[in-house]
Symmetry: C2
Subunit: 358 residues, 2 copies
């Protein structure tokens, strides 16, 4: 793994990842369901080219009745459509110093799509998972090299997590067939968790009798304090609120300019640990906070809209912040340094939007 | 304007633009029509939120019968669906040294969508452009600041260019309603030109009696040799061929690894000056070239598929290149330095893909 950097400049590798891995335009927070093409993307390797007509998904390993499902087989099962807020666990990484060298996300690795699919649990029950199985392993068709290891992208879930009724095999997004870049023809959706669990371009599902130790499970996607620390697995999304930056931007710096007077601010908030109960807004860099108005959430696994009328008052420079707190009492740190970890995961520090009013 | 930089590292502004302005994944060159969400995006300011139900487009200025069209009015007119290859004029900018500071594109600012809309010419004829009009000015709802100037994004076309039968007002993309980030509810499409001419989120169309001198016309989007050079306007797309990088990638460096033996390489090529007549492939960094197989183009304004079976032969490092030549004899420079200009526009140097075979 590349050492974190203290440079304020970014290397060609980071820029390459920023160009491929699309961020959601923060003005996209205005939409309850993120339009296709605005939703964030994190694609480890290449987008595989798979033919839905010949696609097959084997479900095997420690099961009584191995299955082999065509896309039509999967689509013939009971379908549900569910809005799910998704966030890359690397979101916020670029705010760290020293900065882990990977996709240099600030706030934009988010989205909330309406996914159409079928629950995984009845499929696993039909396959008959054997008593000695401890995890379900999901393999993707996307293959490449990371830290010198060639592999298909693979992640496991404990049997208990895989059996959660909201875990889905998904073939549709926002009422359309799943686009190639989002995992066509079939992907996993694990609501409430960070995006790395929702394996795209599913190649196989297998029940395994030992915990999976592949690179994306045992080395990557762990909260580690140092290279020698085995770390803690990354699972659910921490609470996070974001705002649509108000006013108009400068093209290059993206610095914001707003008129004085009453300014409407709004955004969305989510947490994988429980419902968002409070979203606060600050116009002074987080010294003082006001409660904002929360709408009804779109669904249990979606994000919730918040809004606030901010009296911008006197011309001058302001630093707008927003902070979510969920039903378990979890909230967001004021500074990214409080969330520092070696891989730059789960950095849910409050968003800071400098605005020049006048 | 920010001075070009000789740094090999990238500043936070460039990374911010890379995160917002989506590149097409080069494996997307496999699709004749680029899936929504893979097509490149260059969004100068914010994506405006416009309501199709109340949307109106005034057509005014030096016309006999000013018009005010609702979206339904526009959609009631004769519709055509046309595949158009689009490319940002800043594509290739990051290969320059010194490097102009803006969106740090390498090769990925491309796409080919099927646009549905109606020709502009009959609308201008209905409005009755007066004899003293010299240009048609297209204004967008996207507003912001660039080089210190606050403005709506605006571009003009000469009357002759605006009257080309292939210039369209477009409400559909790949069979769907135009997504917000591509200019919903209505945008301009100017086939064969670089993307800056195809104004999104149309706010107004006006016939004007003097050439338009707004910042995006007279200062930006010109081939300039220095800050004092008034420069030459950027218009049509230069010839450009790109390949799907073969083999599998390393996550961080995107370096490619391929097995030895016969390797299938393919991609697309286009030119705004005329049909692509030849695409050549090199495996030795451009010292020797082989002709590739060209398919029939999808349409006059689309891209054309090329393919080649490359005998990778001995294990080792190879540098793959691809080069297009169009019917006017225009071709691509071997090195980006040959295309250097102050803004980093139209840098159509041959793509170079290092591959480790073995």
């Amino acid at each position: 793994m590349t050492e974190p950097t203290t440079s304020e400049e970014f290397g060609p590798e980071e820029v390459g990842l920023a160009l491929r891995n699309h961020g959601m335009h923060l003005e996209g927070l205005r939409y309850p369901v993120t339009p296709i093409g605005m939703h964030y993307l994190l694609i480890h390797f290449d987008v595989p080219l798979l033919d839905p007509a010949t696609y097959e998904l084997p479900i095997s390993g420690r099961v009584r009745n191995p299955l082999r499902l065509t896309l039509d087989d999967v689509k013939a099962r009971p379908a549900v459509t569910v809005p799910v807020a998704m966030e890359c666990s690397g979101n916020g990484r670029a705010h760290l110093s020293p900065r882990p060298v990977s996709a240099p996300w600030r706030e934009e690795a988010v989205g909330c799509a309406e996914w159409t699919g079928t629950p995984l649990r009845p499929i696993l029950e039909e396959a008959g998972v054997l008593d000695d199985a401890v995890e379900i392993l999901f393999s993707g068709h996307d293959r490449g090299i990371d830290d010198g290891v060639e592999h298909d992208y693979e992640r496991s879930l404990t049997l208990e997590e895989a059996m959660r009724e909201e875990v889905l095999l998904v073939w549709g997004m926002n009422g359309m067939a799943l686009p190639p870049q989002h995992g066509s023809p079939l992907r996993l959706i694990v609501p409430d968790w960070y995006g790395m669990a929702s394996v795209k371009w599913l190649k196989s599902i297998a029940a395994v009798s030992e915990p999976f130790t592949g690179i994306q499970q045992a080395a990557k996607y762990r909260y580690k304090s140092s290279a020698n620390d085995p770390g803690v697995p990354i699972t659910r999304k921490k609470p996070h609120a974001l705002m649509v930056p108000p006013g108009i931007p400068d093209y290059l710096s993206r610095k914001r300019y707003a008129p004085s007077g009453l300014v409407h601010v709004e955004g969305r908030a989510w947490s994988g640990f429980g419902p968002v109960e409070r979203v606060e807004f600050s116009a002074d860099g987080g010294r003082t906070w006001d409660d904002t108005k929360l709408d009804e959430p779109l669904g249990t696994h979606a994000w919730v809209r918040w809004s606030h009328e901010w009296d911008a008052g006197e011309p001058g420079e302001y630093e707008l912040c927003v902070r979510a707190t969920d039903a378990t009492g979890k909230t967001q740190p004021l500074n990214a340094s409080e969330a520092w970890n070696l891989g730059g995961y789960g950095v849910n520090a409050v968003q800071r939007v400098p605005v020049l009013v006048g």
